[in-house]
């Protein structure tokens, strides 16, 4: 008998180690007691998993589980709510005093202090650490010393950051930025434990954070097992025992696995399955707005596109696109026709204004033709819409957009798609100003603020102003909005700036993108937040 018991123990240990399945009599049917493990699809993160180095959704998912920052965005409303922050105070929108709550710990036992934040931000901003999200610290005083545009850095730490007590520090910005506290929910502003700096390689193998989950095991390129951390200090404790993120090369395989009962959650329903997803999953299919907008940008560095009258051509092109039809037939309503340059997830208070684009975003073939002719016609008689052909199903919609334009203009050679082989090559052509016609541009918000949809994209020489559109009035209004301490007034100013963008049609808004996900009947309480990332800690296992 004893022997048998031992054997069972060993078998359990092996099963737990291998597949992390619950073991023993009764345990396997956990019935929502918070110990079940959720398996979810994942993509291989492109960059090393560090808060300031992760700029895509896949790595972001993990950070969202193992880190908690000063603020956290409410999964339903998108509002920035205090998490670790006790209070963030400022009298002039430029100097902030941040107090953090007492008693928070990293999962290795270290306490989270003001120093943890300051060290993490200094690390992220320092040029020699190659952090791809370094520009997030660009508003902090001294950034130009730690991260100069050329040459070597002259300082290792940001002069704008000062630790004033165990739990307090001050931030001095290099310009007024009233909504700065609301940006602090972004993962790049997460605190880092001392272990990160002491043994960086070991930390990367098994990241340690202060969130509701800890990393149990991580096999790069195939799976990460996260487990509920019992010592978690926050209120949003994990409602499940853990999450196994499994890497899939192809989201079709992930979807097939979901149908076969081999996987609990797919957070990216493949385009080819959208037709069947309702009948396959019923109400276990989620299709909710996310903070993503797709636009067509123009190369304003090209004289052909920057001459007088071209704004009419751009408006005409916008009117020639039948957004309604394309989102219905190609995207099966997982996109919503855009009528401004932000996203519905901001809500009306946050700055989303339906119909701000007005007639220019309504399909009107005859008016479109008239406007383009008034503006001097298409440069060279034809436009080529560039897109990367390797990922996403961009070819389908670009062809549809061209079709729509060709039909409106009654000329089947007016618009053609111009596929570029790889994403890297596509980005390379954009950043080296080689585009000769409109090109696909997508924007996924970093934080739910109207500022994030406008400033990085359309402000003169901003980090993601790929088309190099520039307008002094727009810049002035954005500056004013940033200096405005009254939230409502700031939003108004941003919307005025957006109107300037509209009148010049600096970029054609196409559609707002939804997050789509499907889950098995083994789990419930599944929801996506505004970043189209599942709210993992709230999922319960039936």
């Amino acid at each position: 008998m004893r022997g048998a018991t031992h054997a069972k123990w060993a078998a359990c240990a092996a099963a737990v180690a291998l597949a992390a399945t619950a073991c023993g009599g009764g345990d396997s049917d956990s019935g929502g007691d918070g110990t079940g493990v959720v398996s979810s699809s994942w993509g291989d993160p492109q960059n090393p998993l560090e808060p300031a180095n992760t700029n895509e959704v896949q790595g972001g998912k993990v950070l969202d589980m193992i880190f908690r920052g000063l603020k956290r965005y409410n999964a339903k409303t998108g509002a920035a709510e205090d998490m670790l922050a006790e209070k963030v105070e400022s009298t002039d929108s430029q100097n902030f005093t941040i107090t953090i709550k007492d008693g928070w710990k990293f999962s290795n036992g270290e306490a989270v202090t003001a120093q943890s934040f300051v060290d993490a931000w200094n690390y992220g901003a320092s040029l020699k650490n190659n952090q791809k999200n370094a520009y997030f610290y660009g508003y902090i005083d001294g950034y130009d010393k730690t991260h100069p545009e050329k040459g070597t850095q002259s300082a290792d730490t940001l002069s704008g950051l000062k630790v004033t007590g165990t739990n307090t520090f001050t931030v001095k910005l290099n310009q007024k930025f009233s909504t700065f506290p609301d940006t602090l929910g972004y993962a790049a502003y997460s605190p880092l434990p001392k272990a990160f700096f002491d043994d960086h390689a070991a930390w990367l193998k098994k990241p340690v954070g202060n969130g509701p989950y800890t990393v149990d095991s991580y096999t790069k390129g195939s799976q990460m097992s996260l487990r509920k951390w019992d010592g978690y200090s926050g209120e949003d404790k994990a409602q499940n025992g853990g999450v196994d993120l499994k890497v899939y090369t192809d989201n079709n395989t992930a979807y097939t696995d979901l149908l076969a009962g081999n996987l609990d959650l797919v957070d990216d329903v493949p385009a080819s399955q959208l037709k069947n997803v309702q009948s396959d999953l019923g109400d276990r299919y989620i299709n909710t707005p996310a903070g993503i907008i797709q636009t067509l940008a123009f190369p304003f560095y090209d004289k052909n596109w920057d001459k007088a009258g071209m704004e009419k051509v751009r408006q005409g092109l916008s009117m020639a696109i039948n957004r309604e039809q394309i989102t219905d037939t190609i995207f099966q309503k997982t996109r919503t026709p855009a009528s401004d340059w932000t996203s519905p997830v901001l809500g009306e208070e946050g700055g989303f204004k339906e119909g701000l684009c007005g007639d220019a975003c309504e399909y009107n073939a005859s008016e479109a033709k008239k406007l383009i002719e008034e503006g001097g016609g298409l440069p060279g008689g034809q436009i080529k819409i560039s897109y990367n052909a390797d990922t996403g199903s961009h070819k389908e919609w670009v062809d549809a957009v061209c079709n729509s334009i060709n039909n409106a203009l009654g000329n089947d050679k007016a618009c053609v798609g111009n596929p570029v082989g790889t994403f890297a090559d596509f980005r390379d052509q954009i950043t080296s100003d080689k585009m000769s016609g409109p090109f696909r541009a997508g924007w996924q918000m970093d934080y739910p603020l109207i500022q994030n949809f406008l400033q990085p994209l359309y402000y003169t020489n901003a980090s993601s102003n790929d088309g190099k559109w520039t307008n002094a009035d727009f810049d002035k209004l954005v500056d004013e909005a940033n200096a405005e301490t009254d939230q409502a007034k700031a939003v108004k100013l941003f919307q005025q700036a957006e109107e300037v963008l509209r009148d010049d049609m600096g970029a054609i808004p196409l559609w707002y993108q939804n997050g789509s996900a499907g889950y098995s009947d083994k789990v419930s309480d599944v929801a996506l937040n505004q970043f189209s990332v599942p709210v993992y800690n709230e999922i319960t296992v039936n």
Binding site: K128, N130, P148, K150, V247, A260, N262, A424
Partner: protein, 307 residues
């Protein structure tokens, strides 16, 4: 024999250098890989320059190639963009793909040769026609169709297998993917064996063996099969390399994290170090497999001599 092997090994050097150089050039003309690293927004110029320096991308291509090859000879295949050494990627990817290839080759040898012998001996009979038709179907249907159909039927509809392979990728899990991967080659092996057997059946030495009164079983295995296998061995030998490199489609369908997966990711992300590293190893596999095939000839047919 020894001399022959040495000569063949020396011949490999220019092939190896030529192949890696070609791959290196091809990956490099695709544009700046750093541009794709930062996602839909541009990398800030300072970080981009820093990264370029770190990966050696700021130097001219010939210099990159020389440094790279120099490092390869010391066993350093460089670092992938996600910070992992390429050798680490290889140590996880190659065992999986080798297991998959073994399963596929076993299918080819066992099923392919067995079917080939059966049909070759019974030319024109219903079995022969049936198998011929079957192989025609397998050859004409693309691998991804076979793969997706089997995955849907066995994995989702009937629930016999899991539609995707876990990260352990055990032999058991790899049976169906292995069969899919082997399917086209398997059909060719069947056809090759069949023709070869049918041809040799009428040859003098077989007639002599039968006339001597040897048992049928011995005639087939020792005389007929041994001589008929030479073209088949050539095919299977070269197929080893093709299967390892060509597993991209199968690996994608069944979510196997092997060489195909790493190559696909490497190409998509334009990661020179990963792509060139994996291709270098694949070239070596091709070359060694070809050498082994040539050496096997002498075992099968003693008349073949090496000078």
């Amino acid at each position: 024999m020894g001399r022959y092997v040495i000569r063949r090994l020396l011949q490999m050097i220019p092939v190896f250098i030529g192949a890696t150089l070609l791959i290196f050039l091809m990956v490099n003309v695709m544009g700046d890989p750093i541009a794709g690293l930062c996602g839909d927004r541009a990398c800030d110029p300072a970080t981009a320059a820093q990264l370029e320096k770190e990966f050696g991308l700021d130097k001219p291509v010939w210099q990159q190639y020389l440094t790279y090859m120099g490092n390869v000879f010391t066993g350093d295949f460089g670092t992938a963009f996600n910070g992992q050494p390429v050798t680490e990627l290889m140590s996880t990817a190659f065992p999986v793909t080798i297991r998959l290839t073994i399963v596929a080759i076993l299918f080819e040898i066992v099923i392919g040769i067995a079917l080939g012998v059966i049909t070759g001996l019974r030319r024109g009979k219903p079995v022969d026609t049936g198998v011929l038709l079957g192989t025609l179907v397998v050859i004409s249907v693309p691998v991804f169709v076979t793969g997706l159909v089997l995955q849907l039927l066995l994995g989702v509809e009937w629930g016999w297998i899991k539609p995707s392979v876990s990260s352990d990728a055990t032999f058991g899990e790899l049976i169906v993917p292995g069969l899919v991967l082997a399917s086209v080659s398997l059909a060719y092996v069947t056809r090759l064996t069949r023709t070869s057997i049918a041809e040799n059946k009428r040859s003098d030495y077989v007639r002599t063996a039968i006339a001597k009164g040897l048992p049928r079983r011995r005639v087939i295995t020792k005389h007929l099969l041994r001589n008929s296998l030479i073209p088949v061995v050539t095919f299977i030998g070269t197929d080893i390399g093709a299967l390892m490199g060509g597993a991209i489609v199968t690996e994608r369908i069944f979510n196997i994290h092997g060489v195909g997966f790493q190559l696909y990711q490497g190409i998509l992300r334009q990661n020179t170090q990963t792509v060139v590293g994996f291709v270098t190893v694949l070239v070596l596999v091709f070359l060694v497999a070809n050498l082994l095939v040539d050496l096997l000839y002498a075992v099968l047919d003693p008349r073949i001599r090496y000078a």
